[in-house]
Symmetry: C2
Amino acid sequence: MPSDVDEEIMCATCRALCSHGYAGLTMQAIADEYSKSKAALHYHFDSKRDLLVAFQEFLGDRFLERVREADAVAGDDPADRLSAVLDAALSPPESDDLEDLQTALLELKAQAPYEERYREQSEAFNDAVVDLLSEILAAGVESSDFQSDIDPRDTAEFLLTVLEGSQVRNVAVGQRPERTRDLLASHLERQVYAQSGSPEDSPEGGR
Amino acid sequence: MPSDVDEEIMCATCRALCSHGYAGLTMQAIADEYSKSKAALHYHFDSKRDLLVAFQEFLGDRFLERVREADAVAGDDPADRLSAVLDAALSPPESDDLEDLQTALLELKAQAPYEERYREQSEAFNDAVVDLLSEILAAGVESSDFQSDIDPRDTAEFLLTVLEGSQVRNVAVGQRPERTRDLLASHLERQVYAQSGSPEDSPEGGR
């Protein structure tokens, strides 16, 4: 977990990444956003790469915190939990800066083959999201709220694939995450939620 | 459509991108892979950016060619056509070089917000894939091979989101595209193909 100093550096990194992009990012650009000097930055991180590995972890942790909180608030009903987690994962960015951050994050993911530590971060993030979704899906199968023959882990992986695709479409063609959330609603309705009558009669699982 | 000269330059660009990545790519690196000089390269393309826009178009055209050919070979049955197109879109790369190319392509997509022409390419590619999938889905609804209440365009967009997500997971965590193809099979079975009895009884739509 980052200390206050780290948190301040992470925010500076975020601002620098949003204005310069991954390719144009330098330690100086980050220092310019940080209240202290470039030397102070180097005191905490040996290289830009070290800093970006920490930044990727920071963003992953923030995402997980957000979806876990949404899950906790949703209560015990598996359909409500799943819906809340997907709402949180596919909520529109609160500002244009955070929209830019999606681009920076995608650029970092694309660096995974060149940097072992990015890859490890991506894998840890991947596992944490799949674990959370699997747990909710398994609970729903157990409670008969979800279809009995779904495989929680396969379905979780499929949902994560959709989340990743949503990010690419947001960055590459400006497709809003809310649109993916709408498309997912019909998927869940037919493929995940237990069928209690015709789709027209069943209550909306989302909010 | 690229001439022979362009085709040669595109292959050189592909090799250079695979070995240097987007961030490390220079006109010199491309010239080194090209049988002619850097000056000859500049005769055809004013800048690295121009060349990469042409390269992105070249790759998009190749992908569309591949999936359209798979579609044509599949015949008239909508389930066969959809299956063939998704097989072609999610086939494993034929070599490690082409695996590296996935990374380069994702890096190019992440540049869309910084370069209007990348964005335009991405949009044209997006529209072409959604058009093709929509057409097949609409044909399947028409012939009653697919469920009557699916929206061809929404479903096509959802499938493209899965294809984009598959590329990210391939690059970021080494998830193979065949795995996404398997996960999609169950989606199609329940969500797209017309239900003729219980899922266990229905014939496999894929191959």
